[in-house]
């Protein structure tokens, strides 16, 4: 490829299922894996004469996300009907928002690999209802399950500010964290709570001339991996197509492609834009939403520090590594426990190790998140201080934390009960070290002679002291005494 450069242009449409208990416009309970067509009513079935009524919580959740994405929140929005002709929405239209979306003109900060962040502009975010599910697998007909039809869905549209698949994936992950922090969506990928539709094309510079390839929209991706892979595939495909055909962007030649996860390729679904003629018009069944004053202030009160901001703060304020800060801030409840324990007197780095190396391990084994283990922040801080002071070692801390979860007792009590307080008395340890040296003359020799064997022999001697003290000797002090005696 000589004298050819290209730039990738990606915009994202993201659908997020909100975690309201009921659907957007009716009181059917939202569920997953229920008996097909059990969670439906005349409204979500599109029966004549039925009328939709807005779910207040869904509007509040959507506004909260809009605020977190730095959007301008509309003080007046309305509902529109979008023509739709598939049986998974039996009304033949989808209730959505067309010209007056709930939120507009925002941005999301996306962390880049070099530690910087990139602002990706948010065009708009609006509420709509989800469709049900068509199941195509059987013979000459399709099966339809309408349990999901009418579920509150937030559509977020970005400007085409992304330049590679990795940025798109990172944005998606960041958004997942945000909606979870705000507790407005479970954002469970397995349950289809987040779906992505990237718009991809290339700006190609060839022989000093600039060409734009036709935009392709990839439909309904429901994993971060599929998002990343499908974009990468599409970049290659568009480049090949351009080199072979020279086809460039024109009015109406945007196409839609689907992702075949098995073959790892995108497949053409719809060639022309024409079918996208949705013929929106205002829904006469629903009155507008006016959002201001106390109600808006109350919603704003539910905002919190967002994960990326928190992560950056942890690095600068607590001097944690970016990795550690990322782990601690991945879930809001973990971060909040961490912050409470720091306030209670724990040193951040020590506490971080306790949480990431022991706490999250225990949480993982229990199949829960850390906060669900019922750890008390005060006790956690005490535990960190005990390690800091050398009163207990790391393996004792693991043991004690397990008991803290089981018994809710404080770590000092537990350390005493379990006889896990480290021996730090230098005089006492001095004697034990002395004994160990006498009993292991060969090892002493090896240490003194230096070289390869020396390190191993030293480790062996520390092990002997530990054995004598049943693992309770403070290893720092033991090693100090050993060095003194052997040098």
């Amino acid at each position: 490829m000589n004298d050819l450069e290209y730039k990738v242009i990606i915009g994202l449409e993201i659908h997020v299922q909100l975690c309201t208990k009921t659907k957007m416009f009716c009181s059917c309970q939202v569920g997953f894996g229920e008996q097909p067509n059990s969670r439906v009513c005349p409204v979500c079935l599109g029966m004549p004469g039925s009328l939709p009524v807005m779910n207040k919580k869904a509007v509040e959740y959507a506004v909260l996300v809009g605020l977190a994405l730095n959007c301008k929140i509309a003080d007046f929005t309305k509902w529109d009907r979008k023509s739709y002709y598939y049986p998974d929405l039996p009304k033949n239209y989808q209730i959505s928002q067309y010209d007056l979306p709930l939120a507009e003109n925002g941005y999301i900060d996306v962390p880049l690999d070099d530690g910087k962040t990139k602002k990706i502009r948010i065009t708009r975010a609006h509420l709509e209802e989800d469709a049900g599910k068509n199941i195509h697998s059987t013979g000459n007909f399709s099966q339809v399950d309408l349990n999901r039809a009418g579920t509150a869905l937030l559509e977020i549209v970005t400007e085409p500010d992304l330049n590679n698949s990795r940025q798109a994936k990172t944005l998606a992950i960041e958004l997942q964290k945000i909606v979870r922090y705000l507790v407005v969506s479970e954002a469970d990928m397995q349950k289809g709570h987040m779906r992505f539709e990237p718009n991809v094309n290339l700006i190609i510079n060839k022989d000093g001339k600039e060409y734009k390839t036709p935009i392709v929209e990839i439909k309904n991706l429901n994993s971060f991996r599929a998002l990343e892979r499908s974009i990468d595939y599409e970049i290659e495909r568009q480049l090949d197509e351009f080199l072979q055909t020279g086809k460039v962007m024109q009015m109406g030649n945007k196409s839609t492609r689907g992702w075949d996860g098995e073959k790892q390729v995108t497949v053409l679904q719809r060639e022309k834009e024409e079918a996208n003629d949705y013929r929106y018009f205002p829904d006469p069944d629903l009155v507008p939403v006016v959002l201001k004053g106390k109600w808006l202030d109350d919603i704003k009160g539910n905002l919190c520090e967002l994960p990326l901001k928190k992560q950056i703060r942890y690095v600068s304020k607590f001097k944690l590594s970016e990795y550690d800060a990322g782990v601690l801030t991945a879930e809001r409840s973990t971060a909040e426990l961490f912050e409470k324990a720091v306030q209670a007197g724990a040193k951040p780095k020590r506490l971080c190790n306790l949480i990431t190396q022991i706490g999250l391990k225990l949480a993982n084994e229990a199949g829960r998140c850390l906060a669900e283990l019922g750890l008390n922040a005060q006790h956690l801080a005490q535990l960190a201080v005990m390690i800091e002071k050398g009163e207990i070692n790391a393996s004792a801390a693991d043991n004690i934390m397990q008991q803290m979860i089981k018994t809710q007792k404080d770590p000092t009590t537990l350390a005493n009960e379990l006889n896990l307080i480290q021996k730090s008395d230098e005089d006492e340890l001095d004697k034990i070290v002395g004994q160990s040296l006498e009993e292991n003359a060969q090892a002493v020799e090896d240490v003194k002679s230096g070289g390869k064997k020396s390190k191993k022999a030293l480790g062996f001697l520390i092990g002997q002291v530990m054995k004598k003290t049943k693992g309770k000797a403070n290893p720092k002090i033991v090693s100090k005494i050993l060095h003194k005696k052997l040098s």
Partner: protein
């Protein structure tokens, strides 16, 4: 603004609406729709210079419901009116276009 609607437009709208029209129907509807549009042309005579677009015909807003689940119909009742069902599912002609999904 509203020129009389042509046959081409009627065909396009029919296609978007998944309607298969006969030639006679196209002629008939083209005439009918033209008449309707002509009638609406009268509205063009109104001066709407300072009139805000109307989002809803009633002067009310913010009609909400609390997020409290209520009994749904249940599968049996839901499928009762369906022309065809397959177990717990509605049964419909095979969907050829894969681009469904809201």
């Amino acid at each position: 603004m509203a020129e009389n609607i042509g046959k081409k437009q009627v065909q396009k709208v029919a296609k978007l609406s998944r309607l298969q029209l006969t030639q006679n129907e196209i002629d008939e509807f083209t005439g009918q729709l033209s008449a309707i549009l002509k009638y609406f042309e009268k509205l063009q005579q109104l001066d709407t210079e300072d009139v805000k677009p109307l989002a809803h015909c009633l002067p009310i807003n913010n009609v909400f419901r609390d997020d409290l689940p209520q009994q749904s119909l249940g599968t049996e009742k839901t499928l009762e009116n369906a022309p065809q069902h397959d177990g717990d599912f509605f049964k419909v002609p095979k969907i050829l276009d894969e681009s469904s999904g809201a």
